[in-house]
């Protein structure tokens, strides 16, 4: 290696101090420093002052936790009003549109009487496994309905569990207020105003009929421990039949449910999976669970090809069901 191509001033040569470099001296000094660190770490107090470079720094994670910064973002959640139980989401599809990995899937709610769309989501599915925590959805939401959660302990041995729906997405506004007070106080007023407007346009229970909600505006206990927030929702009674429980049997349950919806939509559309249609028409939604195998056998004829090949079976069915439902709504 030669330095001819370098200018003289390009090279920085460290001048060594002779006195520090006598044989053995540096070693003795170094051993002394290390021993001092050992003594301080073992007998000194745990170090809380970050400016001090000696002492015990470790945070004993499961028991001790560092306070999360307010703007920390992990996974998206949906908010609902503590007092009324109404969700803030109006199914405006802004988040679904902006989501870079396209993991948000919304179905708009409809007035059963008139069939007209209502500013509320009938279904809201989010794939946590593919979500990249970019926070665009929370950024773009005009109604401040979708926010980023601080809970990061989401690991599971059951992969389909990471496709979450309303049951695991909903959090009360008071919970979000505890984890991000200033960020919420900035938007609180307008968000609540918009919600009040939307509630007026929601007939019946639409907009507050998902999962378990605490009514009456009591401060939510779940706010203290985010992980516990989802637990009561899973165990409680469900307002409507086919809402899936979270747990081991979830994927099976959900598949059946989604297939049933898909079959019903297909029947409404009148085309596509023609042989599945009569079954779906004859049976009510709850009984369509029994028809699931038949629907599954018909599935490949649908728009499956458009969906990625490496998707799991139930996810593919689910996505297909949602798309079919949307297509039906658009009146194809």
């Amino acid at each position: 290696m030669t330095l001819s191509h370098l200018a003289t001033e390009d090279v920085f040569v460290v001048e060594r101090n002779d006195a520090d470099f006598r044989a053995g001296q540096g070693m003795t000094k170094g051993l002394g420093i290390v021993f001092r660190k050992f003594r301080k770490a073992l007998f000194g107090k745990p170090n809380s002052d970050r400016a001090d470079t000696e002492g015990q720094f470790n945070v004993q994670y499961p028991e001790e936790r560092l306070a999360m910064p307010e703007a920390y973002r992990n996974m998206p959640i949906l908010l609902y009003d503590d007092a009324t139980g109404h969700e803030l989401c109006t199914s405006c599809f802004q988040c679904e549109r902006i989501c870079p990995p396209q993991v948000i899937h919304i179905t708009q709610a409809k007035d059963p009487a008139t069939g007209k769309p209502v500013p509320a989501a009938a279904k809201f599915v989010l794939e946590y496994d593919t979500c990249m925590s970019c926070g665009y959805c929370a950024e773009v939401c005009p109604f401040d309905a979708i926010k980023m959660d601080h809970d990061f302990e989401l690991s599971t041995a059951n992969h389909p569990e990471l496709d979450v729906d309303y049951n695991r997405l909903l959090r009360p506004v008071s919970y979000y207020e505890t984890i991000a007070p200033t960020m919420w106080s900035d938007v609180k007023e307008q968000a609540m105003k918009k919600l009040q407007n939307n509630i007026k346009r929601r007939p019946g229970d639409i907009g507050r009929d998902h999962g378990q909600k605490i009514k009456g505006g009591a401060p939510v206990a779940a706010a203290a421990t985010p992980a516990a927030g989802a637990a009561p929702a899973a165990g409680a009674a469900k307002p409507r039949g086919p809402v899936a429980a979270i747990g081991k049997n979830m994927s099976e349950d959900k598949t059946a449910k989604l297939l049933a919806i898909r079959a019903a939509n297909a029947a409404k559309r009148g085309g596509g999976a023609a042989d599945a249609a009569p079954v779906a028409q004859a049976a009510p939604v709850a009984e369509a669970v029994a028809a699931a195998p038949a629907a599954a056998s018909a599935a490949p004829t649908g728009p499956v090809a458009a969906i990625g090949q490496n998707m799991s079976e139930d996810k593919r069915a689910k996505l297909e069901a949602i798309r079919a439902a949307k297509r039906a709504e658009r009146g194809e």
Binding site: F21, A23, M27, I33, K37, F38, A41, G55
Partner: protein
């Protein structure tokens, strides 16, 4: 123990057999438990040196961590490379562990001696030398260039550091007049159990030199060149996994334990200490064991401290350290040890000196005047030698740092 069994009515050969089996079992159990404790001890103390906490989850203060690691290692896949020499590859860890366990045959635990071999000191060194065979087998049998490099480096290192190691023991052997570890421990029992060799100038220098050479023999940092993981993956252990790797690990830590035990026995008085003789019997034996373990683990702490401080040497630095630094000092130490012995015990060692210079004034009691002379003389010799070597080394270092103008002008140095 064999005598007691014979009195119980066993045949003499049977009682010898039973006693041997019991001893071997105790040594193996003690060695492995000691090794497990050592891994925990090293990880905890080096963590605190680096402002961390180290393993503290499994069991109280993480004491059961080695057991969980052992279970983990045993459940791992035991892979052998396709083109490896299967038998040699398999035998290498066995040879390594066998050599280590052999050295435990003579190493005392406090005042308990499994076997009092006549040449016990040499035996420990010789079994340490057997490690080089295991290393060579592992390096060659793996059919991997990194393994071979590590094996060759390790063997070269072990062979060169064996010389200063053996010669650093010679002063102790001279001062004791025997190579039996038991006699060496007995000889350090003066002054109420505090007559350790390390308190004499000869023993102090010998201790430092022997411990340094032993670090190299045990491949401890800064001499961990055979398994330098940033250069040659894991050296001769590269192609080992699962239980075979665990056996290498076991052998490494057991030999580190052996090094601590031997150093404590040779220079720090073994199980001697104040109160051992006064208590006597089983209580005294237990106290000596406690003293012994304390000394050994303090030595191991120094090893860990060095590991946390000093970076790895280069191969040429390793060799020049052995031949240019350790070896001259060791030779000087032997010289001053002979002065020491001549001054303190010429009546026992060299009767002809008594003829020439007259009999020493008192035969049995400590002769303080002669002791003082011996201390001053050996201190002068040793300190002078150390100062000289340090100065020469320093000049060498500076010569390598700064090249003189003439050398630069010539482009040579």
């Amino acid at each position: 123990m064999a005598d007691a069994l014979t009195q119980l009515g066993f045949a003499s050969w049977l009682s010898v057999l039973i006693a041997s089996i019991i001893k071997v079992t105790l040594i193996l159990v003690g060695g492995s438990v000691g090794m497990m404790f050592l891994t925990w001890y090293e990880r905890r103390s080096i963590s605190y040196m680096q402002d961390r906490r180290g393993p503290n989850r499994v069991g109280p203060q993480g004491l059961l961590q080695p057991i969980s690691e052992a279970i983990k290692t045993m459940t791992k896949e035991d892979a052998t490379p396709r083109d490896a020499d299967k038998i040699v590859h398999f035998l290498a860890p066995v040879v390594m562990l066998g050599a280590t366990v052999l050295s435990f045959a003579v190493i005392p635990w406090g005042r308990m001696f499994p076997v009092d071999l006549n040449a016990a000191v040499l035996f420990v060194i010789a079994t340490g030398g057997l490690h080089s065979i295991g290393m060579m087998m592992a390096g060659w049998g793996s059919n991997n260039k990194f393994a071979l490099l590590g094996g060759m480096r390790g063997v070269a290192q072990l062979i060169s550091y064996e010389i200063p190691q053996v010669m650093a023991i010679i002063p102790v052997v001279l001062m004791t007049g025997s190579m039996s570890l038991q006699k060496i421990v007995e000889a350090q029992n003066d002054f109420a159990g505090l007559g350790w060799y390390v308190f004499s100038p000869v023993g102090l220098l010998g201790f430092a030199l022997f411990f340094t050479a032993s670090l190299a023999e045990g491949e401890r940092t800064p001499f961990d060149i055979p398994e330098a993981d940033s250069e040659i993956i894991a050296g001769y252990m590269t192609e080992y996994s699962g239980m075979k790797f665990a056996v290498f690990y076991l052998s490494n830590y057991m030999s580190n334990l052996a090094v601590c035990f031997v150093t404590a026995t040779l220079y720090l008085g073994g199980g001697n200490g104040p109160g051992v003789d006064a208590l006597g019997g089983i209580a005294g034996g237990l106290l000596s064991l406690v003293y012994f373990l304390l000394k050994s683990f303090a030595l191991f702490f120094v090893m860990v401290l060095i590991r946390a401080t000093v970076p790895r040497l280069r191969v040429d630095q390793l060799m020049s350290f052995a031949w240019k630094f350790l070896l001259p000092l060791v030779l000087v130490n032997i010289l001053s040890a002979s002065f020491w012995v001549a001054l303190l015990r010429w009546d026992q060692q060299w009767p002809q000196l008594t003829e020439w210079f007259g009999a020493p004034s008192t035969a049995d009691a400590t002769n303080w005047g002669r002791l003082a002379i011996a201390i001053v003389l050996t201190l002068l010799i040793n300190a002078g030698a150390v100062a000289l070597i340090m100065r020469l080394t320093n000049r060498n270092v500076q010569k390598h740092l700064y090249t003189t103008d003439e050398e630069l002008a010539l482009g040579l140095s």
